[in-house]
């Protein structure tokens, strides 16, 4: 066993990793261009929104992870903090991409079918409420439910809100990273206290706004429908998905000879979090489902009615099988959380599982059903997923390579983390 580590070790983003990330980005770009060229504009936009949202959520999760660790004054995680911090550094890129997708989707129009099956000129995204005339009485597009919500759900206010959420997450995330970097050269408690304070502020801002962020970005795709559970359900998806990506990144770095101070004990803790919050995700999923199913009020049941279409139903059930059954069977025992290969496979499963989760939140409202269930996920979905995976790799690993050391080497609780043992 190696007993000493060089804390000045830096990550070098080069070779295979860099080539692969660029290849994946090119695949994604081909997918996007192909999607538009072959006339799948709406579906391409829905996929872009899906991956833009997923990418942003994973990056926000990096900031959230750091903030939780600082506020809890957790010692075990001190030596792994640089990886979620790199996610936080990539957040501005993710946020700009998400905002660009949303604003292009709102402003580019095409001829398509509206909510009531009529042919009209529609924006690519959020056609339910951003359609022109939808709030004007007497207009053929008029919808009284949307009109009643329009004081909240109108394009300018929507745009302001989204920018505010993402800018505040990005700035607070940036500050957490900055104080941690300052700590490397200065040491002492000065920067740790600052990190603590900014983490508290972040958690308050995040706690109040993350459900609204999910309401705006995803729930408003089906604007007649609403669920107060939806925000927390999305938060759980963000947290589990993000934790899986963090764990996967750490395992990959370890395999490539970096961060050797991260042991099975740290991975065991991450596995516990993934397992626990997968059950939390299921709890919220089920809480939303049970009440809707039981009450069976048409305006609430509309969401599940859409997902009960023969093209979606199997994907809908597969979602809960992967994201609940998977971790329950794979990650419950202590040994499997400590077996790196098993944990890695579980992470890949959950990363794909939460892609499916977001997919089934977005697609039925954004594009409607395709011809068959097996047409629902095709080359377009795969290409855009791979493109964003490449983009994520590129931005996060670039951010990681800019850190002067892969460990916050003067973090006051670092010794505890290096001797972490459970």
């Amino acid at each position: 066993m190696k007993t000493s580590h060089s804390f000045d070790e830096q990550f070098h983003f080069q070779g295979k990793a860099k080539t692969w990330s660029l290849v994946l980005i090119v695949i994604g770009l081909i997918g996007i261009l192909g999607g538009f060229a072959l006339g799948y504009g709406e579906r391409t936009f829905a996929n872009l929104l899906l991956m833009g949202y997923y990418f942003t959520c994973v990056c926000i999760c990096g900031v959230f992870f750091c903030a939780v660790q600082y506020v809890a004054q957790a010692g075990w995680s001190a030596s792994i903090l640089r990886i979620p911090q790199a996610f936080g550094k990539a957040l501005p890129v993710a946020a700009v991409i998400l905002l660009a997708i949303i604003f292009l989707g709102l402003s580019i129009h095409h001829t398509g079918i509206n909510e009531y099956g009529k042919q009209t000129v529609l924006p690519y995204l959020y056609k339910g409420w951003s359609l022109s005339g939808v709030t004007t009485k007497g207009d053929p597009n008029y919808d009284h439910l949307i009109a009643a919500k329009s004081r909240f759900l109108n394009v300018p206010f929507f745009a302001i809100r989204l920018v505010l959420y993402l800018v505040s997450y990005a700035i607070l995330g940036r500050l957490i990273v900055k104080y941690s970097e300052n700590e490397d050269s200065l040491g002492g408690m000065f920067n740790y206290k600052k990190s603590f304070n900014v983490s508290v502020i972040f958690l308050v801002v995040f706690g109040f706004t993350i459900p609204l962020f999910a309401f705006d970005t995803i729930m408003s795709l089906e604007a007649q429908w609403f669920s107060t559970m939806f925000g927390w359900y999305n938060f759980a998806a963000l947290w589990v998905g993000g934790l899986s990506v963090i764990t996967y990144t750490i395992i990959k770095l370890r395999e490539n000879g970096y961060v050797q101070w991260i042991t099975e004990d740290h991975l065991h803790n991450l596995g516990q979090l993934i397992f626990g919050f997968s059950v939390f995700w299921t709890y919220l999923w089920f809480a939303q489902f049970l009440l809707t199913w039981y009450a069976n009020i048409p305006e609430e049941a509309a969401y599940f009615y859409r997902r009960w279409e023969p093209q979606f139903i199997w994907w809908f059930w597969l979602n809960i099988v992967i994201n609940f059954g998977g971790p329950l069977l794979v990650l419950m025992s202590r040994d499997s959380k400590r077996a790196v290969k098993v944990l890695k496979a579980a992470c890949v499963m959950l990363i794909l599982g939460h892609w499916l989760d977001y997919w089934q939140m977005i697609m039925p409202g954004a594009t409607g059903p395709q011809a068959h269930w097996y047409n629902e996920i095709g080359p377009l979905e795969i290409a855009i997923f791979l493109g964003f995976a490449g983009l994520f790799m590129f931005t996060v690993l670039t951010a990681l390579s800019k850190f002067k050391s892969l460990i916050p080497k003067k973090h006051p609780l670092l010794e505890e983390s290096l001797h972490h043992h459970i």
């Binding site: 489902f289 199913w293 039981y294 025992s333 043992h421």
Partner: protein, 178 residues
């Protein structure tokens, strides 16, 4: 033949006690058990204690709870007295899930507590097994079975060398029994 059944080394400091364990193990003196007022990190591995099987008990109790209530709910709501609640079918599985979950948790929690009490002789009505009363207060106690082949004076010396503040030669295993 000495009447001593167990030799206890009482330590004031957990680190000295860990050192005592090292010394005893180096001299091939088998340790019967160690009693401490608080959990000591890494002591299970040092003493070679096997992983607890409480988790398996928990799983079994959970399965028992889940099946019990699911069968009960099925018997009551589907078989014995089906009712029309909100137009839902009598065998409405989503409705059964919350109570199944609750009973699984309840049986697991109670079952684990009972198993733990049973295994550690803390069950109400049973006399607790205590080898030295101060092990629950401020002493870290290593217990050694006096039947071993090492002479008792040697064991006493090893314990004293490691920093034991007191070494007891007890004629009885448990001081808590009358």
């Amino acid at each position: 033949m000495s009447k001593t059944k167990y030799i206890l080394g009482l330590f004031e400091d957990p680190d000295e006690m860990m050192h005592g364990i090292d010394l005893l193990q180096k001299n091939s003196v088998p340790i019967y058990d160690v009693f401490t007022p608080m959990p000591i990190h890494g002591i299970e591995r040092k003493l070679g204690i096997k992983d607890s099987r409480l988790g398996y008990a928990a799983f079994m109790f959970g399965c028992l709870g889940g099946t019990t209530i699911f069968s009960m709910a099925y018997y009551m709501l589907v078989h014995d007295w089906p009712m029309n609640i909100g137009g839902k079918p009598a065998f409405a599985i989503p409705d059964f899930i919350p109570i199944t979950f609750e009973w699984t948790v309840l049986f697991t929690a109670f079952g684990m507590t009972l198993t733990f009490f049973f295994a550690t002789h803390l069950f109400p009505g049973r006399t607790p097994r205590v080898m030295d009363l101060r092990a629950t207060d401020d002493r870290f106690v290593i217990a050694i079975d006096a039947k071993g082949s090492t002479p008792h004076e040697d064991i006493t010396k090893i314990l004293k060398d490691a920093g034991a503040v007191e070494v007891k030669h007890n004629d009885r295993k448990y001081v808590s029994y009358e």
